[in-house]
Symmetry: C2
Subunit: 479 residues, 2 copies
């Protein structure tokens, strides 16, 4: 176990921060509640972005950029929206040496200013749908911050679409939820429960909110992405209206959806261990590190380095530019070099010392399970990509198995309370309560409805109210 | 000439805004001085970003993210810096429903907060160099804004590096200047004068500022990118110090360099014409538009559309995903469809009507010179990339020729004044004046020293002060 990382069992919160620190993913900023995303953390974010961005574009979405500052009066146009966000806003009162006539808030989300622009861009049904996404920073003031999970400023994408019909907007909401699920599962190796949020957890101003919920290794849930069906609420507040094919004026139907740098927190808390960070290969910026190791500097220069550079070049051509790194920190002790790469979460290490050189092999070490084995030089180009895929699947399956083992059923509140009095986890229960019942359950157990999973259509008697025909809900404590 | 675009000759400012509006690149935001970058403008920015980002990474730089908000006290640590930027800052005084103890400014640039972090990350010479870049939004409050050229919020990249020696930092400053010049010339087709700025135009807090200066089609100069050698100014203000190889404590040497969404303005004002936007092919998000055209809907569905999709697919595989678009706006009149694509600046149009279909050709139309010619179907995969390259070179050469024809020499102030009393342009003159002389020249002519070009080492008698041994400067009116 690493001396610079707390044990997961003993202190999960400290372990989380230690893993991030040891991997140099992020630092707290001098401004309270804000963070600095360090180069290795940012490279991970760029890799995450690339996968989502490509999927958005493949489904006809385009990127744009809307302003950072929003007049307070815009927020006030949608009653639930301002109630939800105004308390968290950072407010600009002065600029250019003068007091502003109207204070401006730093965007906590952009439905309002985007709604304002859409009302100008949309006149006819031919102008619809608008399928725009924005990658940007947003600000929601936090008293208690936590790197990646809850910071005053964070990076995200926010999709904002407008449609001619309710049906099309609902379809878009669910399509984006499914794109999120797909990338989270297949690229980030996060098993996802995709479902509808309860009334109490809805986005301020939405008719329905859907979310991807994932289980962290402390059995708590993390909401990893949300997709909102906004009905005509924002279209009415900002007058996004259009002439339909029959020449009649109608309000548009809108959606919004987002994922953020929070996903880095999800990766950390799903896959990492007491030795530090573990990154799934498909999203890892550096997938392989090659370590030439020898106290004999001549051997290093004449043989180990040339061979290391050669395999790096070969693998980069297969895995993508800059996917393979050669570690040249010869001033460090070998053990420290191993550890530095382990803590960075690099999926596969290829060691090359004198013995390996003579036998024309690399000694490979998998980050996910610590397994060591030889890979002959002439098989590396084939074997390495295979092993990386195997690591990817192993990480996903391990997380899925963990979720299964920590998912329970509760038929009544006693059973429910017992689970959360113990280790907790995900609890499946039929539930027909509203905001009030959710509040009572949370007060007594700390758990909330994470979602009503989309793929589970069975109904039954509500574990809390006893009402029949209740939908299946999944409860958990959450981040 | 387009009815929705003013003539360049008659009203250059209006022409510029009309071109941007017709191409749907950007809109003014509801917040004064801010802009919305619309999807086609943002796609152009993404394409610009991709080229710069790749060049930064190829030279060992990594991306990171630093916070949006900076304590005012940080700016105050570097005297010239705060003097230069404080008057332009937007200030957050309230957040989370409370008044802040210390007001925070929205970053106008990030030397200060990055300096603060570097002081924590750097201990030994082994921690150097730090080669970090950040892509982000910044804010400098503007009273008179102009889309892309001067807006309160804009997008940019800011590179911030720290080095163990002065020599290495100077080398970095000039290396990044040269990377800027290379991409501007070879990708954006902007002929560049790269050189050192005069004392009066230096970045607040820099020892030396270098810039890439380009000539717009109204003969004014636009500063398209800058690279600053910051000496030890910020290292001393923020205590970025390290133990050198001899165990002694030294301050680091830092640089910073940036290009912004201003480059979109440079593209517009260098290449566009009275019909609207012209984008050089290498940076154009959409390089080719295919237009199936016929009033006969059956012909469109059965023959023109399948053939259009086929060529789009073939060319996308060669030119890059989404480089080729098929225009399916059959509800518009053919003339309007031509015009819509012309105004978007798409380098090459391939028209496919009944006649072309029968002859198995596309009618190609170049955006740069309006030339029309046939391309047989079976030659398109070879010809189209060749024509795009020819357009690229033609745009660059045309801009370079324009600059040459509008560059003059002045031996004394009378000659100098005559030039700027006329059409203006770039004026080469030996100059040994300081801030005071620069001010006088500007007051009388509107022109300023754009730079002392690096490649011109000749010296002569100063046209203004009569001093001998003066360096060659290039003067112009500027944006």
């Amino acid at each position: 176990m690493a001396r610079n990382i707390a044990s997961r069992e003993k202190d999960y919160s400290q372990w989380y921060l230690d893993v991030i620190k040891a991997a140099e993913l992020a630092d707290y900023a001098p401004v309270r509640g804000c963070m600095i995303i360090r180069p290795d953390g940012y490279a991970l974010w760029e890799s995450i972005q690339k996968h989502f961005d490509e999927a958005f574009k493949d489904t006809g979405h385009v990127n744009a950029y809307f302003p950072l500052l929003i007049p307070i009066s815009f927020l006030e146009k949608e009653a639930e929206h301002v109630e939800g966000f105004a308390p968290e806003c950072a407010v600009v009162t002065h600029a250019g040496g003068e007091e502003l006539e109207e204070p401006l808030v730093i965007r906590p989300t952009s439905e309002t200013v985007i709604g304002h622009m859409y009302s100008k861009w949309v006149q006819s049904w031919r102008d619809l749908p608008i399928l725009i996404n924005q990658w940007c920073n947003v600000m929601r003031w936090e008293k208690r911050s936590r790197l990646f999970l809850r910071t005053s400023e964070f990076l995200w994408q926010e999709g904002h679409t407008a449609h001619a019909t309710r049906e099309e907007a609902v379809e878009e909401t669910l399509k984006m939820l499914d794109i999120y699920r797909d990338i989270m599962e297949n690229i980030l190796a996060l098993p996802v429960l995709a479902g509808e949020k309860s009334e109490g957890e809805r986005f301020p101003g939405a008719d329905n909110t859907y979310a991807c919920e994932t289980m962290m290794s402390d059995r708590k849930a993390l909401q990893a992405g949300t997709s909102h069906f906004l009905g005509q609420n924002f279209a009415k507040a900002f007058d996004i209206s259009f002439q339909n094919r029959d020449g009649e004026l109608e309000h548009a139907w809108t959606t919004s959806w987002g994922v953020s740098t929070r996903l880095i927190g999800a990766i950390v808390m799903t896959h990492s261990d007491d030795d530090g960070l573990v990154i799934p290969p498909r999203v890892a910026p550096v997938k392989v590190v090659v370590l030439p190791i020898s106290p004999d500097r001549d051997l290093v220069d004449s043989k180990l380095m040339p061979k290391s550079s050669e395999i790096a070049e070969t693998l980069n051509a297969i895995l993508g530019k800059r996917s393979v790194k050669v570690d040249t920190r010869f001033h460090m002790r070998p053990g420290d070099r191993f550890f530095a790469n382990i803590q960075k979460g690099i999926p596969l290490r290829l060691e090359l010392g004198e013995k390996e050189y003579q036998r024309e092999v690399f000694q490979a070490v998998r980050r996910d399970n610590g397994e060591r084995f030889d890979i002959p030089w002439d098989q590396a180009a084939v074997k390495v990509p295979e092993i990386l895929e195997d690591i990817q699947h192993n990480l996903y399956n391990r997380a899925l198995e963990f979720r299964k083992q920590n998912t329970f059923k509760a038929g009544n509140f006693e059973e429910f309370k017992d689970i959360f009095a113990g280790k907790g986890g995900f609890v499946e229960a039929f539930f027909a309560g509203g905001k009030e019942e959710e509040k009572l359950i949370k007060e007594e157990t700390g758990a909330t409805v994470r979602c009503f999973p989309l793929e589970r259509e069975e109904t039954g008697t509500c574990f809390f109210t006893g009402k029949p025909g209740a939908k299946l809900a999944v409860f958990a404590k959450s981040y």
